[in-house]
């Protein structure tokens, strides 16, 4: 006699990410369609409760995504979400007169200038789990490695991209500031050009 094995209930998960809706700028409603690129879901619906240990995506020198899971060790968060400092904030300067401040150590003809940072509009930025490019993540390039790789963070110079692979190009958005209007460019285009190699450059690395 052998007891029949009861089959386990099969569970199915949908791999297709579904669109979701949200309200932006208090009144405006929009449908957000997530997109999966190289295993990374962009514009995904944020979780209902914010988790400080929520995974984020880092990029290697080629531009390959790598998921980082923050953890708490000895009461401190290790591999936590990247801190962008004030790179994406807008600086505003306010000047105060002695009458306004009423400071006892401010001369009557002296002015006090104070800087404060305005947070950026995170309406669209917050949907991106991939680490953003900031100037402190620039790498030096050139033969003497003395030229900054600005505005690019990834890929590094002279890396090798393989056929059929997808790589993320990242750049510092505020680098493209119109000198006339002093406004950050809203749209950009990426171009790839062939570069002719000198004969001595071919295989130079190996020799």
């Amino acid at each position: 006699y052998r007891q029949a094995i009861k089959p386990r209930p099969t569970t199915t998960t949908s791999e297709v990410v579904k669109p979701w809706r949200r309200t932006i700028y208090s009144t405006q409603r929009e449908i957000v369609t997530p997109i999966v690129i190289a295993g990374v879901t962009l514009s995904a619906k944020p979780p209902a409760s914010s988790d400080p240990l929520e995974p984020w995506v880092s990029l290697d020198k080629l531009g390959n995504p790598k998921t980082i899971k923050p953890k708490i060790e000895k009461g401190r968060t290790v591999d936590g979400h990247p801190d962008y400092s004030t790179y994406f904030k807008t600086v505003h300067t306010t000047t105060f007169s002695p009458e306004e401040l009423k400071a006892h150590n401010l001369e009557t003809d002296e002015l006090y200038t104070e800087e404060f940072f305005e947070e950026e509009d995170e309406t669209y930025v917050s949907l991106n789990p991939i680490i953003r490019c900031t100037p402190n993540r620039y790498r030096n390039k050139g033969l003497a490695k003395d030229i900054s790789s600005e505005p690019f963070c990834t890929p590094f110079e002279n890396v090798e991209w393989k056929l059929h692979e997808t790589y993320f190009v990242t750049w510092y958005t505020k680098f493209f500031e119109d000198p006339e209007t002093e406004k950050v460019a809203e749209r950009v285009r990426l171009h790839l050009f062939y570069v002719k190699e000198n004969p001595h450059e071919k295989g130079f690395k190996k020799r």
Partner: protein, 164 residues
Amino acid sequence: SLRAAFFSSETVKNVDGLYPIKVDEEWFQEKQEKRVLLAIQPEYISDEAFDPWSNGILLKIIKGARVAKNTKEQLALQDAGISDDTWYYVALSTPTVVVIACVAMYFFLFLNKKHRDIRDVRLFAVNQRRRVLGSFKDFKKYKKINNRPYSELPTHSKKSSKQG
């Protein structure tokens, strides 16, 4: 010039500073690898004024993993006419032949043990172990030999009074 670009993306939002690029086979132009320059053109710079070298980054696109160059040992083997994995067979056949020869020798000796007369050899060996030692001072040389030197008996030149 932008006409030289073999790939130009559509205009993308400069919000995230992020753009995924998939390496296409057509970019190789039937070559194994190509050296390329990646550049970004903001909207406020016209196509004519855009200089890709100003802030571009150089990189390579390759079709697959680079094949490692031959080592000196590999080149020496190729010069000797041994290529691919032939040398494995050579390296394996030599000890195999030795093992087979040893086994054959063992069976040959086993089968002929009754027809073999090595008495003279054995006697010679035994005699080597039982030979006369010679003087006592050379004892160290004959440690492994069965014969042990005897201790010399005391000799008395004068007779004791009782004996007398």
